[in-house]
């Protein structure tokens, strides 16, 4: 299974996501990137991410994304 970091890198290859703890504040992901990421996560992990989970705080770093996925039933 592809790690979250690899999916992020596919969406925005120009950024070093490992160097950031807050992708939103650091300008690495905008709202449209978030929707692209949701679609990629859903496709890759075969999961449906509910609308209530699509909030900036769930996308601020890899740990937050993983926790959101855990809530959706995806476990590493």
């Amino acid at each position: 299974m592809k790690p979250i970091s690899a999916i992020l890198q596919e969406i925005r290859p120009e950024y070093d996501f490992a160097a950031s703890q807050d992708y939103i504040s650091d300008g690495m992901l905008d709202s449209f990137d978030m929707m692209t990421l949701v679609a990629a996560l859903e496709r890759h992990y075969s999961v449906s991410i509910p609308g209530t989970a699509i909030a900036p705080e769930n996308f601020r770093n890899a740990q937050a994304i993983q926790e959101m996925l855990n809530h959706c039933g995806v476990h590493p």
């Binding site: 950024y15 300008g27 690495m28 609308g51 209530t52 699509i54």
Partner: protein
């Protein structure tokens, strides 16, 4: 529609729609901007069936935003939205052209027409040299009036979301507007927003009487050369203006496949 009095009202409205199976929205408010709109009484809302609609006042028209639990609910609720018959309204819908082709007929059936297609263009960080002594300076709050006047002359307010006087004053205070003056007159400006590693060029304009005199190139070179630590530059350009697109390509921007369809109702399109 009713005025929005607290940001909490906005989040509650969004949350109502988010509980649906197929949440859809064109509303991605940044908290700081949202607070400013509420403080200036520029935001209103309307609960239309299952969809929460937000309206942001801009000069003499409204920007329409929706938060709907599903596409079907949005279509149904848009068709009964009274404001589309009585107010001048524009709405922005973002996505890839392929994804939006499924959406646009639905929005058009509710009375919104395609008004403008904006293309997102991106540029990786890349060395560029500013001209020596190019005369470019940062705007101050005192320049805000002249900046508004140039922006309103250079851009279509329905297609580009023009900043208010207060936003311009705040951006000038935050060193995010570059100016070039000639003989005391505002010859050109470049308005940008840098957040972390991304910088967005919001407006780049040269006054009619100063076109062809390298004002624009001095501004953009100064801007690109001055954004230390930025890894990605983005902007939204009129996708049908090939001359403009070519101009941005000259500075190594390229279309990245994301578009923003600006839709307008009949009270605007006539």
């Amino acid at each position: 529609m009713l005025p929005v009095q607290t940001t909490q009202q906005v989040f509650e409205g969004m949350l109502r729609a988010k509980s649906g199976p197929d949440f859809c929205t064109n509303f991605y408010p940044v908290r700081q901007k949202l607070e400013a709109w509420v403080a200036h009484n520029a935001l209103a809302f309307q609960q239309g069936g299952e969809t929460t609609f937000f309206f942001r006042r801009d000069r003499n028209f409204w920007h329409l935003f929706y938060c709907a639990p599903s596409i079907q609910a949005l279509q149904r609720d848009l068709c009964t939205l009274e404001e589309l018959q009585t107010e001048r309204v524009v709405a922005d819908v973002l996505g890839t052209p392929e994804a939006l082709e499924a959406w646009l007929p639905m929005l058009e059936s509710a009375g919104l027409r395609r008004y403008k297609r904006l293309a997102r263009m991106g540029r990786p960080a890349r060395e560029i040299a500013a001209a020596v002594a190019d005369g470019v300076a940062l705007a101050t709050r005192h320049d805000a009036g002249a900046i508004v006047a140039l922006l309103e002359k250079a851009f279509d307010p329905f297609a580009k979301q023009l900043p208010s006087l207060e936003e311009i004053e705040a951006a000038a205070g935050g060193s995010e507007i570059l100016l070039l003056k000639r003989g005391g007159a505002l010859a050109g400006l470049l308005f940008f927003e840098t957040r972390g590693v991304t910088s967005t060029l919001r407006f780049w304009a040269v006054a009619q009487e100063f076109r062809g005199s390298c004002v624009g190139s001095a501004l953009i070179r100064h801007y690109l050369a001055g954004q230390r630590g930025v890894q990605r530059f983005v902007l939204w350009a009129d996708g049908d203006d090939r001359v403009l697109i070519e101009k941005y390509r000259h500075y190594h921007y390229a279309e990245d496949g994301v578009v923003d369809y600006v839709l307008a109702n009949d009270l605007i399109t006539g």
